[in-house]
Every structure is written in structure tokens, then in C-alpha cells.
């Protein structure tokens, strides 16, 4: 028993000293910190006296002396506690002076009377193995006033402060109160209930820990209050305490019953104590041990493991601080690839239920666009799209697509139920499959990324639009000035009296052509502006291709005649009627015929054909083709044909004043009618075939 006393007192002594030191070092000028240190100092002294009072084999006089010293030093804890409760958590002392004087005097009176026989007259029931129980004298009332009453007053004071405070201070006060509650319950159960009612002193050695708990909670309130939320701490502390008590009781009971049954002799108290301590140790170390072992095994057995919290926080940072679309997507993809250890990933950017753009790391962008995946995705986009995981797929066709393009996961990124992008991920580098945890994490990310991707796209679109606008103004102003100057100077020449009839005819014709040209240019510019503003509205109706060609071709009669071009028609009957916006279809065909006629070499043929074609899903479409034997399209020009204002050098030579809006308009019109436009050319001076495909009905 004495060994246990010694151990518990030494442990208590050191723990308390460390707590006091930590608090004083943090801020040695704060009144709260200093009062706390004084408070702990009183407990330290108490522990020393208390230990000596419990050393067995002493004369009862000596024990009585130690007990009186214990009472003397604890007399001061009441006033100190009150001062601390009053000041906490401020750093300035605000207690009224008379209170300090009155309460300190009370403490002093109680302490000095503790040393006289009037507080404790003697000891009863003292034998070698039982804790001494002193018999109270008349002055016990002073002690009662100085300690329990003041503690109660402090407790009430703290509760009142707690009710009034908010925020951090409230949580600090909560710690303080929790410390007192735990301390008092310990004292009540171990000291009074156990000793006086159960008549056992087994738990007396644990008494120092009640003060450690109290000081620990106050110190924590002073030092660390900012770092943790109070509620989980309270909940965990209570849960742990109950758990440990519960386990300890079961453990001790089993030991006690087991040993009694086997050896027929009761187990030694020391063994029981060691058992309880071990139980406590196991209880406290279980969680950290489990974590450490988990980490170790993860590292050894699961190479592909990553920290989901870190990944999410990294992605959130990128989403929050990147506005440029290209930066945003490449940073997000690279982070996902790096942290989840994936081989490749891509964003399919969706606009109006179509793939508008692909941003990829590892995938071939063009190849993804041409793949049946696109059709599959369009199909999916029409219904409500969900995340796909390769291993969860049941549809064999879909599985085949996933396998072919090395897609493991497909996650729609939505804003208000509209898809703005689809995140696709390739296989993991370590070869392991995607877990539902991965999917869950990516779903959380998808909900954050949607708005960021949309904003970044809007931002980029705005920037591009502003650049395009200034380019537009510059090109257009130049191109409009040219016919204006032709008209102006021709008219000036006409005004001159010395010009011949032949000259006058030429200048008149120049002016007339200039005005026509100007009108056409203006039309194209206005259409281009509508395309920029997305104001192309389609009104579909059945359109007869033969009629369109018959109306259009005569417009180019002069050029056809001077260049001796041979226009050939080959319109399949079943393709003669297409569903389209008549005016827009006519404009598109006009653009293509005009280009074919203008850029053809003299004496060659221009072929106009139309046929019906089956597309994916058994849908029929009409394909109109206009082929010429003209200047053709070089490799380097290919990617720019549909750009606004693009004109090849050769085209500039043949027709210097074109605006370069024709193909841009044709493409926009084709797309607006759910059609397509594309071309084929073997190169410079090898002619070109232009195709328009439109849904036929």
C-alpha cells in the first residue's frame, strides 16, 4: 500500500509542477497565470504533507501533526480558488481590495486554527493499514467556511460568468468548470463515499489525480483553448472516463473472482492496482496504436493509398485561387493525377449538351473527340447523368467503350443540374481499382469544381471576346474603307470634265460594284456579330435543294462565263428535300459556291452533289458537297479555315478585299442547325471538296 501511495504522490507532484511551469512560462505577468501557479503550489505542498500523513508505522501524534499541516495548507485553497475564479481568464487583477483582505484573513485564520487542537481534537480508528480519520473540533466551522463554502462560491461564480460569456471565453470557462466537476466527483466518491460508507481506503492513493485533473483542465483552458473545440473534448473525456471505469471494474472483478476460484486466496491489492493501471494504459493508448499500425500496414500493403483530406483541401485551394480556365483545369488534373496516382485524366467541357473543349493530361484530345465515346456521352447527357465506375458497369457496349479508351471513372460536374464538364480518369498507376471512397471524394470535388470551371470559362470567354472585338473593329474598318475609297475616287474622277466616255463607264461600273460589295460586306459583318452574341435563331422547314441551286448559280453567271466554268449537278432524289432554315441554308451554299467559283482555275468544273447518308443510330442525314479544281488548302491553312477573318495568302492575291467571314458564318449556321461542315483537300492547287451535312427527315 505504501508503495502505491508513494508512486501516486510522486506522479501527481511532477504532473502538477509541469502544469504550473507551463502556465507561468506562457505568460508570467498574467494575474490568472500567477494565481494558477499559487493554487498549484498549495496542492504540491498538500501532496507532500498528505504523503507523510499516510506513511504507515508512525505514532498517532505524528500522524495528527501531518494531518493538521494538510488542513492548514488546504485552508488557503478556498481563497485562492475564489481569486482565480474571479480573475479567470483575464490577465489583470480586478478583485476589490477588501475582498482580498477578508478572504485572505479567513484563509489565515483557518490555517492557524488547523494547527490547534480546536479544529481536530484527535484521530480515531487509526491502525497500521487504515487511513487515519481525524475527529473534528469546534473550529471546524472556520475551515468549512474557508474551503468548501469558498469552493462552492467559486463554482457558482464561474457558472454565472459562463452564462454571460460568449465565444472563446465561454469555452475556457467550460474547461474550468469541467475540471472542478471531475475533481469534486473524484473527491466525493474516493474520499467520502468510499472511506465513510464503504469503509475502504483502497481508492485513497488516487486522490492526487483528482487535483491533477482539476489543474490539468484549468491549465488547458489557459494554454490551449484556441486550438480545440470544447464539445468533443468534453464528450470524449466523459466517454473515456466511463469506458475506463467500466473496463477496470470488469477487469478487476475477473481477476478477483478468477484468482479466488483458482488459488482459493484473495488477490493482493498491489496486483489489483497494477491491473487497473494497465487497463487504463491500454485504454488510452489503444487509438494511437491502432492509427500507427494502420499507417504502417497501409504503407506496406496499399501502395496507391493517398490522404483524401489533403487531396480535397489541395483541390479546394486551386478552385478558390485560380480564375484562368487553362490554369484551373491543368492544375486540377495534375493534382488529382499526382495525389491519387492516376495515369491520365481529362475534363470534357460541355456546352449545350455537347463536348465543347477537352482539357487533358495523358489522353489524346483529338482522339477522344472522334471516338464513339462522344456519341455515348451525348446519349448520356440527354438523360440524367451519373458517375460511372468501370467495374460497376453492366452495359456491355459502354464497358467496351470504357475499356478501349482506358477510362476507369467518369464523373459529371454540374451547376444547378446542368453539366458543365465531365471528369474522366484513367487507370491508377499501381493497378488497383477505384474504391467507393475515391468516388465519394471525387463527387465532393465535383460539386465544388462546377462553379469554378464555369466562372473560369466565362472569364476566358470574356477575355477572348474582348480581344476578338478589337480585332474585329480593326479588320472591319479597314475592309469597309476600301470599297468606300473606290466609290469616292471613282465619283471624283467622274466629276472631271476631261475623262473619256470609256473612262466614265469604267468609273460608274466601279462605283456600282463598290456599293454592291459594301452591302454584302455589311451583311456578313452583321451576321458575324449575331454569331458572337449567340443570336442565331433557326426556323426549320422543308427546303428543296434543286430550287436553292437554281436561284443561286445565276448570281455568279458573269464569273462562270468569263472563267468558262462547267457547273455539274448530281442531286439524289431522296436528298432533294432537307429540314433546315431556308435562308441560312441558302447563305451557306452561296458561300461555298462563291468560293468554288472564285478560286477555281479557268475552264475547270465545279461539281454540286447531294446524297443521303446513314449515321450512327440509324439517323439519316443529307450531305451536300461542292467540289472545285481550285487553289486547294495547304496543311498549314487547314486548322484556320473556319476562323473569322482568315484568308490564305493565295486567296488575298486572287481577291484582295474579301473579309474572311464566309466559312466562319457557314460553320456557325451548320452547327446551329445540328449539322456539320467539313472539307477535304490534297493541298495547294489540288482543289477542295466542301461538305455540309444536315439532318434529313
Amino acid at each position: 500500500m505504501s508503495t502505491i501511495f508513494l508512486i501516486s504522490h510522486i506522479v501527481g507532484f511532477f504532473t502538477l509542477s509541469i502544469l504550473a511551469l507551463a502556465v507561468v512560462i506562457r505568460n508570467s505577468k498574467s494575474a490568472t497565470n500567477i494565481l494558477f501557479a499559487i493554487f498549484v503550489l498549495e496542492f504540491l505542498t498538500y501532496l507532500v504533507f498528505n504523503y507523510f500523513s499516510l506513511v504507515p508505522g508512525q505514532s498517532s501524534d505524528r500522524v495528527l501533526l501531518w494531518i493538521r499541516l494538510v488542513m492548514a495548507i488546504t485552508s488557503f485553497t478556498g481563497p485562492t480558488m475564489f481569486f482565480l475564479a474571479y480573475t479567470f481568464p483575464q490577465s489583470v487583477l480586478t478583485i476589490p481590495l477588501r475582498w482580498i483582505v477578508i478572504l485572505s484573513s479567513l484563509g489565515l485564520l483557518s490555517a492557524s486554527s488547523s494547527l490547534t487542537p480546536y479544529l481536530f481534537t484527535g484521530i480515531t480508528g487509526y491502525t497500521n493499514n487504515i487511513v487515519p480519520i481525524p475527529s473534528p473540533g469546534p473550529l471546524i466551522a472556520v475551515y468549512f467556511l474557508s474551503v468548501p463554502v469558498l469552493w462552492l462560491a467559486s463554482f457558482i461564480l464561474l457558472i454565472r460568468k459562463y452564462m454571460r460569456s460568449v465565444g472563446v471565453e465561454k469555452s475556457q470557462l467550460a474547461y474550468f468548470l469541467l475540471g472542478i466537476v471531475i475533481n469534486l466527483s473524484f473527491l466525493l466518491v474516493l474520499g467520502i463515499v468510499a472511506v465513510n460508507i464503504l469503509k475502504t481506503s483502497v481508492f485513497i492513493p488516487f486522490m492526487p489525480f483528482s487535483f491533477v485533473a482539476l489543474a490539468g483542465f484549468i491549465a488547458y483552458a489557459i494554454l490551449r483553448h484556441r486550438f480545440l473545440d470544447i464539445q468533443p473534448i468534453i464528450a470524449r473525456t466523459i466517454a473515456y472516463t466511463f469506458l475506463i471505469i467500466f473496463i477496470a471494474i470488469i477487469y478487476v472483478s475477473i481477476l478477483f473472482i478468477g484468482s479466488s476460484l483458482i488459488t482459493k486466496t484473495p488477490i493482493a491489492t498491489e496486483v489489483l492496482f497494477v491491473g487497473i493501471v494497465l487497463t487504463a494504459v491500454i485504454a488510452f493508448t489503444f487509438q494511437p496504436m491502432q492509427k500507427a499500425i494502420g499507417k504502417f500496414t497501409d504503407r506496406v500493403f496499399f501502395m496507391g493509398l493517398y490522404d483524401p483530406e489533403k487531396l480535397l483541401s489541395d483541390l479546394s485551394h486551386i478552385v478558390a485561387e485560380t480564375i484562368n480556365f487553362e490554369d484551373l483545369t491543368s492544375k486540377l488534373l495534375n493534382t488529382i493525377i499526382k495525389e491519387m496516382r492516376i495515369t491520365k485524366a481529362a475534363f470534357l467541357v460541355i456546352e449545350a449538351h455537347r463536348i465543347k473543349e477537352i482539357r487533358s493530361v495523358g489522353y489524346d484530345e483529338k482522339w477522344l473527340l472522334m471516338s464513339p465515346l462522344e456519341a455515348q456521352i451525348h446519349q448520356e447527357l440527354k438523360s440524367e447523368m451519373h458517375s460511372f465506375l468501370f467495374q460497376d458497369l453492366e452495359d456491355e457496349a459502354m464497358k467496351e467503350v470504357f475499356r478501349k479508351y482506358e477510362l476507369e471513372v467518369l464523373i459529371p460536374i454540374k451547376v444547378e443540374k446542368n453539366e458543365v464538364a465531365i471528369l474522366i480518369l484513367g487507370p491508377k498507376a499501381a493497378g488497383n481499382v477505384y474504391s467507393h471512397q475515391d468516388l465519394g471524394l471525387l463527387d465532393v470535388f465535383a460539386s465544388e469544381a462546377g462553379i469554378a470551371i464555369q466562372n473560369a470559362r466565362l472569364y476566358t470567354d470574356l477575355k477572348l471576346a474582348s480581344e476578338a472585338k478589337s480585332r474585329f473593329v480593326s479588320v472591319v474598318s479597314h475592309q469597309l474603307r476600301t470599297p468606300v475609297s473606290v466609290i469616292r475616287w471613282s465619283l471624283e474622277m467622274l466629276q472631271q470634265k476631261d475623262s473619256t466616255t470609256q473612262d466614265r463607264e469604267m468609273f460608274l461600273n466601279n462605283s456600282y460594284q463598290g456599293v454592291i460589295f459594301l452591302g454584302e460586306q455589311l451583311d456578313d459583318i452583321l451576321i458575324a456579330l449575331d454569331i458572337y452574341d449567340k443570336k442565331i435563331f433557326i426556323k426549320k422547314e422543308p427546303c428543296n435543294l434543286n430550287n436553292i441551286f437554281k436561284d443561286l448559280v445565276p448570281e455568279f453567271a458573269t464569273v462562270i462565263k468569263t472563267k468558262k466554268l462547267n457547273i455539274q449537278y448530281d442531286i439524289a432524289n431522296e436528298a432533294n428535300v432537307v429540314q433546315a432554315d431556308g435562308r441560312k441554308l441558302s447563305k451557306m451554299i452561296k458561300i461555298l459556291i462563291k468560293n468554288a467559283v472564285i478560286y477555281s482555275i479557268p475552264g475547270s468544273a465545279v461539281k454540286i452533289t447531294a446524297r443521303l447518308e446513314n449515321k450512327v443510330g440509324n439517323k439519316k442525314r443529307a450531305v451536300i458537297t461542292i467540289s472545285d479544281n481550285g487553289m486547294g488548302i495547304t496543311e498549314s491553312e487547314r486548322d484556320h479555315i473556319f476562323e473569322e477573318f482568315f484568308r490564305s495568302d493565295k486567296a488575298r492575291v486572287i481577291l484582295p478585299n474579301g473579309l474572311g467571314l464566309g466559312m466562319f458564318i457557314a460553320q456557325a449556321f451548320a452547327r446551329a442547325q445540328e449539322g456539320e461542315i467539313w472539307f477535304y483537300s490534297e493541298g495547294r492547287d489540288k482543289g477542295a471538296d466542301f461538305h455540309i451535312a444536315l439532318p434529313a427527315e
Partner: protein, 122 residues
């Protein structure tokens, strides 16, 4: 009076040729940027009329070549273009253009007068 007109738009060129001829100029023409330098070298004109948007080599490049050639840089170059934005004008003048005229802003008579004045001042 000898002038080289560098202009790719046929209608405009025809008018300019007509006007300059009637005003007593001897004319050589270049239809793109690449032809420009050889034509100027051969013709050795007293003044050059230069358009800026030209096929093959832009008027700015032609201007730069003219002004960096020791034999040609003394010939005055009058830019006659439909580029009318401040940065185009500034750029042409920085490259050494002697005058800058926006086509739509000047009657032909005024252009002839400016060219003649330039030659008198020389």
C-alpha cells in the same frame, strides 16, 4: 516626276494611275510586297506611294526595307492606306514614313497636291 505606286486593289490602282498620269507623273506599279523593292530599285522614283495591307509582304515590312537600304532611304514614302488606327499611323511614322494618308479621308486632288509639295520641298 517619277512615282512608284504599291497597291494591290486593282480598281483603286487604276484610278490612282489615271489621276497621277493626268497630273504629269511617270508611273511604275507593284501589286504586292515582294515586287515592291525590285520595282523601286529599277524605277528609282522621286516618291513612293505605299499601301500597308499587301499580299506576300506587308507594307510595314516594305517600309522597313526601304528605309534600311542606303540607296533607297532618301526617297520619300507616302503611306496611302485604309488602316486608320492610331497605332498603325504611329508605327508607320516610326518606321520612317514621310506622310500618312487614310484613303477615305482625302480627295484625289489633295493627294496629288501633297505629293507635289513633298517633291518641291525636297
Amino acid at each position: 516626276m517619277k512615282v512608284v505606286i504599291i497597291e494591290d486593289e486593282e480598281n483603286l490602282l487604276r484610278i490612282l494611275q489615271d489621276k497621277f498620269r493626268k497630273s504629269g507623273f511617270e508611273i511604275d506599279v507593284a501589286l504586292d510586297g515582294e515586287q515592291a523593292i525590285p520595282v523601286v530599285e529599277r524605277a528609282q522614283p522621286e516618291v513612293i506611294i505605299l499601301d500597308l495591307i499587301l499580299p506576300k509582304k506587308s507594307g510595314f515590312e516594305v517600309l522597313q526595307l526601304l528605309k534600311s537600304d542606303a540607296n533607297l532611304k532618301s526617297i520619300p514614302v507616302i503611306v496611302l492606306s485604309n488602316l486608320g488606327q492610331d497605332e498603325d499611323i504611329k508605327r508607320a511614322l516610326q518606321l520612317g514614313a514621310d506622310d500618312y494618308l487614310v484613303k477615305t479621308q482625302h480627295p484625289l486632288d489633295e493627294i496629288i497636291e501633297k505629293v507635289k509639295n513633298r517633291l518641291k520641298g525636297k
